[in-house]
């Protein structure tokens, strides 16, 4: 097979004859054409695409889908391709040529990995994919991971695939979205892509909304459609980070009413103390430890002494207690 490719001489093929669709062998998704166009403009086509005559005279792209797309974007009319005759290559050979050519030159994004595994699954046994191809893709040889990546290809719509390929949705988020019903998945995906939550925030939002959904029986799509959520999203005075913060605060309060109330009460208690400048009182994370911490920043011993004297005069300090004590 390799020998045959080596012997092929490129021939000019009109771009009109080449499909604009990636076809069954391409493994490219979510790519940027600009760097490739820049390269082609500077040094020309170094490596010709490989194509194959399909049924009824159609030409299938085996490798070089991105190069062909770049030529098209550059306004060219034809491109030099190495043409294979259909009988010489089994479809599985064509797929593997594309796979190994890409593997040697670049990293695949998660959607591409899903496409590859999905396509390999048509020709190879799950065992072969698990043991031979998943390690080549940098994935653990695990059935559930195989299923997950194939689902990226099968179950995500275009916008979600774009988000995942471009890193705006993390793989962890994508996995969590797949666990949702299609309605919730779609609503959540649109929401994440519109509001630009970072990966950690995506994780928090999914976890909190999944919990609220279980507790209240409302779907995630319903929760995202609530009035208050809409008000925050459309607030003209808030920028993206402020909106994400406000939404997380809203849901966190719904999910953890007692904890958030305690946090608020504690903040108010400390604020009422009117502590001297550069003196802080902090609770342990989630109030789990039994001690509070005071930090005093000072310039000189005199400054420290003044601050301590100031603290001693704050009568309210004596009444500082766990923020839930008064409420019980």
């Amino acid at each position: 097979m390799h020998h045959k490719i080596d012997l092929m001489k490129p021939i000019q093929i009109s771009l009109d004859r080449l499909s604009t669709e990636p076809g069954p062998f391409s493994m490219s998704y979510g790519f940027e054409l600009a760097p490739l166009i820049n390269s082609l403009q500077n040094v020309g086509l170094v490596n010709s695409p490989i194509v194959m005559e399909g049924e009824g005279g159609a030409i299938l792209i085996i490798t070089g889908y991105r190069r062909i797309a770049a030529f098209r974007a550059m306004g060219k009319e034809s491109i030099g391709c190495r043409m294979c005759i259909q009988d010489t290559f089994a479809p599985s050979d064509a797929l593997l040529i594309n796979f190994f050519e890409n593997l040697a030159t670049r990293e695949f994004n998660p959607v591409e990995k899903g496409m590859i595994l999905n396509r390999l699954a048509r020709f190879l046994s799950p065992q072969e994919i698990l043991t031979q191809y998943m390690p080549l893709l940098g994935l653990a040889s695990n059935k559930s991971i195989l299923t997950l990546y194939i689902s990226f290809d099968n179950d995500f719509d275009e916008s979600m695939k774009q988000g995942l390929a471009k890193g705006r949705l993390s793989e962890q988020t994508a996995k969590a979205l797949l666990d949702m019903n299609p309605g919730d998945r779609k609503a959540m995906g649109i929401f994440f892509l519109a509001l630009r939550f970072n990966m950690n925030q995506q994780k928090q939002v999914i976890e909190i909304l999944t919990d609220i959904s279980h507790i209240t029986g409302a779907t995630i799509a319903d929760l995202l459609g609530e009035k208050e959520v809409g008000r925050i999203i459309s607030a003209p005075s808030l920028n993206h980070p402020q909106k994400t913060k406000a939404l997380l605060g809203l849901w966190r309060h719904q999910r953890y009413p007692r904890l958030t109330l305690a946090e608020k009460t504690f903040k108010q208690q400390v604020s009422r103390l009117c502590l001297p400048k550069n003196v802080q009182i902090q609770a342990s994370p989630y109030f789990e430890a039994d001690l509070y911490r005071m930090e005093i920043f000072f310039k000189t011993g005199k400054d420290l002494k003044d601050k301590i004297e100031h603290l001693l005069k704050i009568e309210e300090l004596e009444h500082l207690e766990d923020p839930w004590e008064g409420a019980e």
Partner: protein
Amino acid sequence: MMCVFPVDKVLIDKGAEQYRLFSGISERIKISRSRQDREEIQAQEMDLGRGKKTLHLVPYAGDLLKPCPGTKAHICCGYQILNVATNCPLDCSYCILQSYFTEPNLRVFVNLEERLGEVLNRIDCHPDMIFRIGTGEFTDSLALDPIVGWSELLIPAFSKRKNAILELKTKTCNIKRLSLLRERKQIIISWSLNSPFITAREEHRAATLRQRLETAARCQSEGFIVGFHFDPLIPHSNWRDEYLRTLDLLDRHIDPRRVIWISMGSFRFMPQLKAVIRKRHPHTTVLDGEFIPGLDGKMRYFKPIRMELYRFMREHLEAWHNDLGLYLCMESDDVWSRSFGWSPGDTKGLSRFLDDRVKKFFG
């Protein structure tokens, strides 16, 4: 009444047949000689549902007796775990074992009888120490007793030792085999209890609350000392009334003077368990509470919620009887003091408290 758990498949590790426990098991259930290599078993995907019906007979090479691992910054009871099996045929939605072991099968250690001497020697070599030993940490102590016959092996051996007690902790009614034995000394049969709501909704395949307490009452009438464990306490809608219903049942069935201890612990779990619970028990309510990451990395209820649970239970249990050996499982000194009005201070202090209970009941 017995709780019989179906075994669909029996896997036998190399060399398992030579042990006496294996012979007993093969007399009690039909073993279809289905052998599998260890590598083959480990390569299988985790299927906890199937694992609960697959008995895996294994000679165990590790330490048979291990101290309860405890957890950072919390007071432990100083219990010792006798490692007789891993995993459990019951299917409680909150069970931590769902994410604890890498193999899902019911692994029974068939060389227990041959190796028990190691444990007994250790006990005998430390006559000044009290060994509080239990088998209910990594499995239910009695769920598989009708098949394995642990009672006949363990009860006579521990009953002879004055510086040890054996606690068999269960959610079943499988006391038939142990009832037939003469020994009662140094043996504690204990039940995990919860509210009727949690028991019915979350403790799948376990005996009902009433069945457990009727069985406990029978054990008391047959001369056994009993214990109870309200662990995990789970706040849910109407939880106060629901837990009071359990306490009412306790009062109806149990003589509190023959209860050695009652422990309490609130639901806590390693973060990775949450996804397993969501997947295996999609309708569960056990994840609904306000969980925060505790000082040991486990998820726990926000502190005032835990204290509220413990205070409520303590007040009502103490109103029932004022000497129940109440203690908290894996809580901080702070939570102890503020929920119970006293604290053992540390693990040594709690161990001393529980050792004193042993001395009081068994001399």
